[in-house]
Subunit: 343 residues, 2 copies
DNA sequence: TTGTACGCGTTATCAG
DNA sequence: CTGATAACGCGTACAA
């Protein structure tokens, strides 16, 4: 128990076990390539010394860290939580450690964190969405760090993605709402700059409107940070216009919950007085009253597949292949039927 | 744009700038110790090469990383999100990067992640709560890595903590409820093994009961994972017993929201038929109907102060000093008044 | 002010 | 199956 000593090194272990450092290293990295007897000796030495490999040294020599980095826009709400959890679990099964950083939806912060994670030897990176300064992709390419994007699917983007078609998903939700008889449609969106999910969801609504004889230009989505408070304020403001919308489509569930609160403040009943929808289907959506009609995203599947693909890219040094995941509309009780739908 | 080349090194920069590697290193780490003219040359070289210092090499040579690690029990709900966000912001201001890992409330996972983060050169560690295998503290001491605990305050623990008194906080909530006339009290708790917050909150309720002539042994808290579904199931089960409790105290807001759902399933009105309380005062508490009576925790203050203290410990190589933060009871609408409270 | 040279703790190559 | 030994990229005495 020499508590003041510096952490033990490979050398210390080697000396104690009366072998060379190479042998100790082998015991750790390919145990089968060393005799059982000596291995036993080494293992005891490791135990008694409380030896832990020095990571930096290992990285310098081997250039691999078995670490994957992920940068998500926020940890403040649960949007990315389930997917990330699944991502981590799958990674862990494959012997990788996940390190997470949050950018607070700020492009510069994200860039800095990308550099940080790469410098720290991340073998691969998971990023959310495609929209970012192209220079970053140059940097990543130069550093030979594989990158995979999640939460957004794109065929044309520079890096592979495991995600869903935000535009199509939102379009089909909007079309369903239109089929239900909603015509006066408003939208509360996340901030679309540097955020393809937000941007594409707006486009999806416009697609639906255009396809059904509504003027997309009249949508005029308001863009705000993804938090409950903003959602509530925007909703209250929206309701002060006339004619009032019969439906408020929200860019995600958090904004939708905010809208629900706004309605509550105004004494408006949902869905009788106004309908509200969300996107993501996080736990929150089923916990509020009324439960939210929203777009279900296969969070866990996405996380799991992203991990598989990213590890594949890292280990086989190959290009990643994109995959589009399916979303489904969850019709719950925050939407009213204005017109009977018998076809 | 030689895209196939390996990342540039100090050596490359030195060659291009026609100086030694030592000079380049100085330009980066103590710019004032080098002549302005040569510094300019070096800086251009760095720019044109797109040089980024290799982190592992730097760590090996300098033994500092300006990285702080944090291991939280979960990212799945927002319990730790706000505090962690504040922690990160404060860290960033001081030039440190935060790396986060989640243990899914599993002790072995946490231990592994502690080792991972230390091996990766974390200058300091933030941990949640005090309950863990003492060996881990030995390891951390041996590695000379400063540790700070948050979300729980203790004077007697081996490591310093910035947190609140979970026991006293829960006790005063329970006392307030008793003062309101509640006598048939049930509790839905998190799993208390290896979780001092959960454990102390149970104790707090028992303290309050004992102090007011109620038998603490009759509390019989049920312990479950912190998720909405578990909370709902436990609540439904609790309500099948007779006599039914008039009040269900929950170990945190997530369980309380679950209880609310359970009540809804049962057709029970809250607070008319049964009262429910939470703990933490996360955003969720104000978003559900009825809004949750709960214990407010100063998340952001805790995160900020934890960052300050931990950086202090790292930079000044000193023992950390603990601080107890205040909590307050937020009385909202999930609790009924059974008895008039004029004193 | 600048350069030389060594050490940090591993892994990997190559003999033995 | 095992042992020397050369990298890996950088910081820093020490020397010039």
């Amino acid at each position: 128990m020499t508590d003041t000593a510096a952490p033990p090194t490979l050398d210390d272990v080697a000396r104690l076990a009366r072998v060379s450092t190479a042998t100790v290293s082998r015991c750790i990295n390919s145990p089968d390539r060393v005799a059982a007897s000596t291995r036993a000796r080494v293992e005891t030495a490791i135990k008694t010394l409380g030896y832990t490999p020095n990571f930096a040294a290992r990285f310098m020599a081997a250039k691999r860290t078995f670490t994957i980095g992920a940068i998500i826009p926020t940890m403040e709400n649960a949007i990315f939580a389930r997917g990330l959890q699944a991502f981590q679990e799958e990674l862990h099964q494959r012997g990788y450690t996940l390190l997470v950083s949050s950018s607070a939806y700020k492009a510069e912060a994200e860039e800095e964190q990308i550099r940080t994670l790469v410098a720290r030897g991340a073998d691969g990176l998971l990023l959310i969405g495609h929209d970012r300064d192209p220079q970053i992709y140059d940097y990543l390419a130069q550093q030979h760090v594989p990158v995979l994007v999640a939460w957004s699917y794109s065929e044309t983007a520079r890096v592979p993605s495991i995600g869903f078609d935000n535009r199509a998903a939102m379009r089909s939700l909007a079309e369903r709402m239109i089929a239900l008889g909603h015509k006066r449609i408003a939208m509360i969106s996340g901030i679309s700059e540097q955020n393809d999910r937000a941007r594409l969801r707006i486009e999806g609504v416009k697609d639906a409107m255009a396809a059904h004889g509504l003027d997309p230009e009249r949508l005029a989505p308001v863009e705000l940070p993804y938090d409950v408070h903003s959602g509530a304020a925007a909703f209250v403001d929206l309701m002060s216009h006339s004619p009032r919308p019969s439906l408020v489509l929200c860019g995600n569930d958090v904004l939708a919950v905010g809208a629900l609160r706004g309605a509550h403040q105004l004494g408006l009943k949902v869905p009788e007085d106004v309908s509200i929808t969300g996107f993501d289907d996080i736990e929150l959506a089923q916990v509020v009253t009324p439960e939210l009609t929203t777009v279900h995203v296969p969070h866990r599947e996405m996380g799991r597949k992203a991990a598989q693909e990213l590890v594949g890219m890292v280990e086989e040094k190959r290009q990643g292949v994109s995959e589009k995941l399916e979303t489904t509309i969850m019709e719950r009780s925050s939407v009213s039927i204005l017109r009977d739908q018998s076809e």
